[in-house]
């Protein structure tokens, strides 16, 4: 799969080799966390609308608020909220990881991998904490 169709100066099609890309490498925690950081960032970008929609509901009066709030408290709504909560913490701790690297720390292979694992664990722990606390109140 490592060939790319190009056209030469005289118009002939030719297959040229490509440098190895994603499908070549075995996934590592640093690689997966990097990809997930961008994906969660993009998802959260659009998820902000849900937060604003709830605020608009709150500002619009009891009738529309009941409609919006019921949507969020339905099972699909709760699943989406849970996913957003996790992605917020995932992106937040992934961001802290990047700030640590920006400050020139944890650049060794072992430290970078440990950092990835820690940010993942903290994201899971914080999501669990928020939902356990939220469920009980």
């Amino acid at each position: 799969m490592s060939a790319h169709q190009v056209r030469t100066a005289n118009g002939r099609a030719q297959r040229r080799p490509l440098s190895p890309h994603l499908q070549i490498y075995r996934p590592s925690i640093t690689m997966v966390m990097s990809i997930l950081h961008r994906i969660t960032g993009a998802v959260l970008y659009f998820a902000t609308f849900l937060g604003v929609w709830w605020l608009m509901g709150l500002a619009s009066g009891p009738k529309y608020f009941a409609y919006v709030d019921d949507m969020f408290r339905s099972w699909p709504g709760l699943v989406i909220l849970f996913a957003i909560t996790y992605q917020l913490f995932h992106h937040a701790f992934g961001g802290i990881r990047h700030l640590i690297w920006d400050a020139d720390f944890c650049f060794s292979k072992q430290a970078a991998e440990r950092l990835g694992l820690w940010s993942l664990l903290l994201a899971v722990a914080c999501t669990a904490l928020v939902w356990v606390l939220g469920w009980w109140t």
Partner: protein, 136 residues
Amino acid sequence: MMKDNGTPLSRQHITPLKRARGLGTAHDGTGHFMAQRATAALSFIMLIFLAILFVALAGADYEQARAIIGEPLVASALVFTAAAFCWHMKLGMQVIIEDYVHHELLKYALLTANLLFSAAIFFLALISIGRVVFSL
């Protein structure tokens, strides 16, 4: 004699000062990078507030939710959160667009849409919070 990438100053067509003032190939210097990091740090702090607010609102009905959001400190922090998030997401989505969209016209259309979406989210949050605060 000062050198840059091994080229003697006498053979460069711009001086180091001119180069510094030009702010690099993006003509933006480190502005985007620094703003990304600053809004990231702010967003992290505000996420702690948002998590607490989320737990507080979990069991709240309409009247209770309005009372919580209408609290001046809570409302101010929430507007600040919206500002940090919206600025940060504008910068982040800009990088994604610049990385993947190479068609010039489409790229600038998307960059404009990105700015409008991020600004719209902020203003909707601001107006909604304001309406709750000032109707108490």
